[in-house]
């Protein structure tokens, strides 16, 4: 019994805090927690590539934006229904992840970082260029948070929807982490030659990992678009992919909970240092450099070294 409780302790803790936040009735705090939950999904999905496969992706801004624009485009051109457009956004991200994975992961993973960046920039350019469909640099606004069955008119009610999505995503990603497939991904990241020697096909599993990762990034993007009820091409710019990267490194990319801790610290930092928004990239660059040279294990890695205990 105790073992079961320990296994789901992290989820229970986050849910407890997240529900506790609603009881404060503080709109700003609820908004911040919504952001935290969305970015946690984004960072957890990013860490499948970074932490398990040990690859750097700059294409996650593409999947995030595909989720966001999928929602916006479906709602404004097909049916203005929240649930359908939400699902469309996720599917679009998954399909794009499959295509990008198929083109970039077949030969060498050295290409991966460069080519995912190239695809992200292509997507950004298309969003800006096809004004008639995507609204160009103005983006699309007025995304409905109404479906036939439910509606989430306020930030507080929408928060419950995000929390529900978060819990489902967290459980799925945690199951992947502890299951055979998570082990497979880690083995592939640790040593490709041995992985091949065991008779597995590395390309297949890399593409699978990217599709899983891209799908949840798309989910995060869709939630993000619905939070603001608007999208602009800024969500597709490649530096967006730097955010989950920083979160994962900050918390510790070798740990499942690393991206969660990282996202909490990151959202807190961005809010506390809102005045630095102009030079935020510079700050992120300095954080990454400091982490790489000083603490590659991130916050959890440092804590582990201090207490000699695995989290």
């Amino acid at each position: 019994m105790g073992a079961v409780w320990r296994k789901i302790a992290d989820l229970l803790a986050i849910t407890f805090i997240a529900v506790g936040v609603t009881l404060t009735f503080d709109t700003f705090l609820i908004y911040l927690t919504t952001l935290f939950l969305i970015f946690t999904i984004f960072a957890l999905s990013y860490n499948i590539i970074l932490g398990y496969l040990k690859l750097v992706s700059f294409g996650h801004s593409l999947f995030f934006a595909a989720g966001a624009y999928g929602v916006a485009l479906f709602a404004s051109w097909v049916i203005p229904d929240m649930l359908l457009s939400f699902l469309f956004g996720i599917v679009l991200a998954a399909v794009l992840a499959l295509i990008v994975g198929y083109i970039t992961l077949r030969h060498s993973q050295i290409y991966f970082a460069m080519l995912t960046l190239a695809f992200a920039m292509l997507f950004y350019a298309l969003l800006v260029k096809w004004r008639d469909i995507t609204g160009g640099s103005d983006g699309i606004s007025g995304i409905p948070r109404v479906s036939t069955l439910f509606s989430f008119p306020t930030t507080e009610t929408y928060y419950m929807f995000v929390l529900g999505c978060f819990i489902i995503s967290f459980i799925i990603l945690k199951l992947i982490d502890v299951s055979f497939i998570g082990l497979i991904f880690r083995a592939l990241g640790d040593n490709e030659s041995r992985f091949k020697f065991l008779g597995y096909n590395p390309v297949k599993y890399r593409i699978l990992a990217l599709v899983v990762s891209g799908t949840f990034s798309g989910l995060a993007g869709a939630l993000y678009a619905l939070l603001y009820r608007a999208v602009t091409p800024d969500v597709a710019y490649w530096t967006v992919a730097a955010e989950p990267l920083v979160m994962s490194l900050l918390g510790g990319s070798a740990y499942f909970m690393g991206p969660v801790i990282g996202a909490a610290v990151f959202v807190g930092l961005t809010t506390a240092t809102a005045r630095l928004a102009e030079i935020w990239q510079l700050v992120m660059g300095l954080i990454i450099a400091a982490l790489l040279l000083g603490a590659r294990g991130g916050i959890l890695g440092v804590m582990e070294r201090l207490w000699r205990k695995r989290f």
């Binding site: 077949r106 030969h107 970082a113 080519l115 190239a118 920039m121 990239q281 990454i288 450099a289 590659r296």
Partner: protein, 286 residues
């Protein structure tokens, strides 16, 4: 029609030479050190900014280019020695990440120093002449850049193929452990390569700023084009990169003439097509 064709080919060659000045350093550094320098295009743009400042101080284009080139070369060495060197021994993931961090820092720092508006400087009078060719006039700067690109190509060829230093670089390129066993100071070879690669970036950026304005974000689109060229040639294939620069340059220039809407898509279509048929690049080894 012929006149138009010549015009487009010339414009394409100019574009190709511009790209080559970026891609050559990137692929040289990768070939030798196995580090993909994400900050390479940021260095290129930084070279342009430094040249701008020196030019406004001294009023001399040539001094500005020389100072900017050397400064970027030194920045490249500083980044390699201070940030990348501690990370050579561990997974390549971290080397990539550190150059990415440098990109973010350089981008925002140059925005902070030189502002968000796009800036350019005036061509020196000796280059601001136009030349008549096949019924049209072209800026002399076109021929200047094309010639420079060819000189860079020949200089790299001689340095790598005809000198003892080139032999050391090539043996490091092939097999680091073996090169070390032969008492080649591979650490110094790495640093020198970073110096030369960054010199090329600085020189390219400084000379191009006289023709195309620099702005924050320019590096982001340039690095993508440089990546596509390098991947097209096969990673680390230096001389193949010249050929693929020319392919991309001329293809862009031709397509802009006939189907202007496709300009962004074009290089991606070429890249995706090559990667699907020959994932190791046009000139790469399987």
């Amino acid at each position: 029609m012929l006149e138009l064709l010549i015009h487009q080919i010339l414009a394409g060659l100019f574009r190709a030479s511009y790209y080559w000045l970026i891609a050559s350093g990137l692929t040289l550094i990768f070939g030798v050190t196995r580090v993909i320098n994400f900050a390479h295009a940021a260095f290129f743009v930084l070279g342009g900014y430094i040249a701008l400042t020196i030019d406004s101080l001294t009023g001399n284009f040539w001094i500005a280019v020389a100072v900017a080139t050397l400064t970027i070369g030194c920045i490249g060495v500083a980044v390699e020695m201070g940030l990348i060197k501690p990370l050579y021994k561990i997974e390549s993931l971290y080397q990539l990440l550190i150059t990415f961090a440098v990109t973010l820092i350089v981008n925002d720092a140059s925005k902070l120093i030189w502002g968000a508006a796009s800036r350019s400087m005036k061509l020196p009078t000796e280059l601001a002449i136009s030349v008549k060719l096949a019924g049209r006039s072209y800026p002399l700067f076109y021929f200047f850049v094309i010639t420079i690109a060819i000189i860079v190509f020949i200089a790299l060829y001689i340095a790598l193929e005809k000198t003892f230093w080139g032999l050391k670089v090539k043996s490091t390129w092939r097999d680091v452990t073996m090169a070390q066993a032969l008492r080649i100071n591979t650490g110094r070879v790495y640093t020198t390569t970073f110096f030369i690669g960054s010199l090329l970036a600085g020189f390219g950026g400084a000379s191009m700023v006289a023709f195309t304005p620099v702005a924050p974000g320019l590096g982001d689109s340039l690095i993508v084009t440089a990546f596509v060229i390098v991947v097209l040639a096969g990673l680390g294939n230096l001389f193949g990169a010249y050929v693929s620069s020319i392919i991309i340059g001329i293809a862009e220039s031709m397509f802009l003439l006939f189907i202007p809407e496709l300009d962004i898509l074009l290089i991606f279509v070429i890249m995706a097509a090559v990667l699907l048929v020959r994932p190791w690049g046009l000139f790469g080894e399987r």
